[in-house]
């Protein structure tokens, strides 16, 4: 009896939903996501834009309401423009480095590792079970002038005197490569793993050697993986805060560090509207760069074949 009663109850619930128009049903399903993004993403973003136009209190803390462009004018200071330049350059270099290191690694994993594939993939993931912060501090210990690496190199007689890498752009670069590499490897691995091996065979069958096959078949067909990997690395890298803070010392600032200072600084070194303006600028800048990038990619994809 209960078994027959339950479906009818359930049916009534379903039919109420089914009576909604299609857009209504879609809206119902999307509601949780809308609420989440509205409260935790859109509202803070709008708040940030508002703050960026307000007037600094001059001694830190929440600013006074109003509409001013002072914070944006302040951005044009060559000192800050330089930080923008350094950040974008490092993000670009870091992305390219991750791609150059990550592609061969992903290629090996997808095509040659056969039996050890799972083990190797696991080895890439395992470090990420520890906190980002701890891993970056670990690099500080390794790269320190009196650290592990320095001592080993000296003991082996490879270098004379202590290693002077920590608190330089090189240290930041090492930290970036280490932390962001998996973000590049995984999309590339998926793209290479999905690549139909018969296409590679067909290419070789038609007289193309290994290198010719790579440029004409493997790379073009895994380009979506390259695009995804580069975006996954480039976007968070532009907002990177921890690595320069820990491995870069006080001289090598990223945008993220500059923004953080405006909110966390004590007294006069804190400036909320300026920090917010910096944040808004980074978001706009990223949107522009990413869209140019995607547009260029789409143009490459729609060009038929490999001319020439």
């Amino acid at each position: 009896m209960r078994a027959s009663a339950n479906p009818s109850l359930r049916d009534r619930g379903f039919s109420a939903i089914q009576r909604l128009p299609l857009w209504g049903r879609s809206l119902l399903l999307l509601a949780p996501a809308f609420v989440w993004y509205g409260v935790f993403f859109l509202a803070p973003l709008v708040n940030m834009v508002i703050i960026s136009f307000e007037e600094s209190s001059g001694y830190g803390g929440p600013p006074a309401p109003g509409f001013h462009l002072d914070s944006y004018r302040q951005l044009l200071n060559p000192l800050y423009l330089k930080v923008f330049g350094v950040t974008l350059r490092m993000a670009l270099l870091g992305t390219v480095a991750c791609l150059l290191v990550g592609y061969p690694l992903a290629y090996f994993l997808a095509t040659r590792a056969s039996r050890h594939k799972t083990t190797l993939l696991l080895l890439i993931i395992v470090p990420f079970w520890t906190s980002f912060l701890i891993r970056t501090y670990a690099w500080e210990t390794i790269l320190d002038s009196d650290g592990v690496l320095s001592n080993i190199l000296q003991a082996l007689g490879i270098t004379h005197g202590s290693l002077n890498v920590l608190y330089t752009p090189t240290a930041i670069f090492i930290g970036i490569l280490y932390n962001y590499l998996p973000l590049m490897i995984f999309p590339l691995y998926v793209a290479l793993d999905r690549l139909d091996k018969r296409l590679v065979e067909a290419s070789k069958d038609l007289g193309a050697g290994r290198i010719a096959t790579f440029w004409q078949v493997t790379l073009p067909l895994t380009l979506p993986g390259v695009v995804t990997g580069c975006l996954l690395v480039f976007i968070p890298l532009t907002g990177e805060y921890l690595i320069p803070a820990i491995l870069g010392g006080s001289k090598n600032l990223f945008m993220g560090n500059l923004i953080g200072e405006q909110f966390q600084g004590q007294g006069a070194s804190s400036d909320w509207p300026f920090g917010a303006a910096l944040g808004v600028t980074v978001v706009v800048l990223l949107l522009i760069v990413v869209n140019i990038y995607l547009l260029a990619f789409r143009r490459v994809q729609s060009v038929p074949g490999q001319a020439g």
């Binding site: 139909d196 018969r198 296409l199 065979e201 067909a202 290419s203 070789k204 069958d205 038609l206 007289g207 193309a208 050697g209 010719a212 004409q216 078949v217 073009p220 067909l221 994809q301 038929p304 074949g305 490999q306």
Partner: protein
């Protein structure tokens, strides 16, 4: 054995592809191809036929260069291709899944091989155009493979391979993804195309009908070994092993023991008399290497057996014919043919020792209800009479039609002894 093989290999001008004692082992245990020796004459259409896992695709991949043989050597136009990668071999492959490059247009796909040779742009354009004409797809050059139907993709794959004018074209079950009607159509096109270009085709298929329709030569493979090589007629009419007889077409098998062997005299065939569960059967055969008392199997094609009314059959069997009495248990109308299952046995009533024989007769338009009264029309002409279940009949076939197949142990051993170039029988049977 090996020196003999090498000696014949020097006469390379005749052959486009030669496999000499080729074996391929994957891992430690999986033997995909076992000691295969095969010579492919220039310009022929050869099919590698066998069930899945028989090593036919591996053989093709060995020729293409995707795999290297564990032992033995492969020659293409008399040149040993050991260790050469696919891109250094003058062969092209049509893949089962076509393997067209999805990011290129049809024209760029077809021109791919020519571009690797760094030919001039105009030359490439001209030859791509010709290739598209050849496969009857003119004007499709600008399209993407994904925009084409299966049959069209198949044609592009063919054009992409043939445009390079290879020594040999390898085809790996290229029609298996097409529906029946299109497959028949493409079979005819393939055959015409091969005739037109005159390039040697090596065609892998598990479809015996396809192999018979298309090929000049058929190589039947089983368990990594060559079972039989011959023309479609030879393979169909003179199967050397039970496996071949069973795999190609429908066959009745009658088991028995050899009672008497009369060796061939004056160019006539030898005669083997076999005692079977359904009586003594006389077979005229080229194979006289069976001995008295040996267990053998007689293979009998259903369409080669005539069905005669029991009453009209003579008491004394006619010279050169075997006859067995039986009862029709099933009659099926197949359209072009009528198929009967006839229970035959020592006692024509069909005792415990009896067996069912399948007989197929051409449908000549006769009706069961109106048997021809005219006695002059010979009742032995197939199809003049349609029988129903329960009717007593006499099966008759000529002596040459029954094939004596050796039955010692297993088919594989038989295959080794019968096929001329298999050097090691009984090797590696785990």
């Amino acid at each position: 054995m090996r020196s003999e093989v090498d000696a014949t290999a020097r006469d390379a001008s005749l052959y486009d592809v030669e496999l000499l004692g080729v074996s391929k082992t994957f891992g430690a245990t999986t033997q995909a191809v076992h000691d295969l020796t095969l010579r492919v004459e220039r310009g022929i259409f050869l099919s590698l036929l066998g069930p899945s896992g028989c090593g036919k695709t591996t053989t093709l991949r060995l020729i293409a260069g995707f795999e290297q043989p564990t032992t033995g050597s492969i020659m293409i136009r008399g040149r040993d291709v050991a260790g050469l990668p696919p891109y250094r071999r003058d062969v092209n492959t049509v893949f089962q899944s076509y393997a067209l490059f999805p990011h290129m247009t049809v024209a760029d796909n077809i021109g791919y091989g020519l571009r690797q040779q760094h030919l001039h742009r105009d030359e490439i354009r001209r030859r791509v155009g010709e290739a598209l004409e050849m496969v009857r797809l003119p004007g499709a050059g600008g399209r993407r493979p994904a925009q084409l139907s299966g049959g069209q993709q198949q044609r592009v794959a063919l054009a992409r391979a043939l445009v390079n004018r290879p020594t040999v074209l390898l085809l790996d079950e290229p029609l298996s993804a097409l529906d029946l009607k299109l497959r028949k159509e493409m079979q005819q096109e393939l055959k015409a195309l091969q005739h037109e270009v005159g390039i040697t085709f090596i065609y892998v298929t598990h479809d015996q009908e396809e192999a018979i329709t298309l090929s000049n030569r058929i190589v039947v493979m089983n368990g990594g070994r060559l079972e039989q090589e011959g023309s479609p007629t030879e393979v169909y009419d003179r199967p050397r092993t039970r496996f071949v007889a069973d795999f190609i077409g429908l066959t009745n098998f009658i088991e028995g023991r050899v009672r008497e062997v009369i060796p061939a005299v004056n160019g006539e065939q030898s005669t083997v008399t076999v005692t079977t569960g359904i009586g003594e059967i006389c077979c005229a055969s080229d194979q006289s290497d069976v001995s008295v008392g040996e267990a053998v199997t007689i293979a009998l094609r259903p369409e080669k057996v005539s069905l005669v009314e029991s009453a009209s059959a003579d008491d004394s069997p006619r010279d050169g014919w075997s006859t067995v009495g039986g009862i029709v248990t099933q009659a099926a109308f197949l359209g072009a043919q009528n198929e009967y299952r006839v229970r035959v046995g020592k006692e024509s009533s069909g005792g415990s020792q009896g067996q069912e024989i399948v007989v197929r007769q051409q449908n000549l338009g006769a009706m069961a209800e109106t048997p021809p009264n005219d006695e002059s029309s010979s009742p032995t002409i197939d199809g003049w009479r349609v029988f129903g279940p329960g009717e007593r009949v006499v099966l008759a076939w000529r002596h040459e039609v029954g094939l004596v197949l050796r039955d010692s142990g297993d088919d594989r051993a038989t295959g080794d002894r019968v096929s001329a170039q298999a050097p090691t029988p009984h090797a590696s049977r785990a």
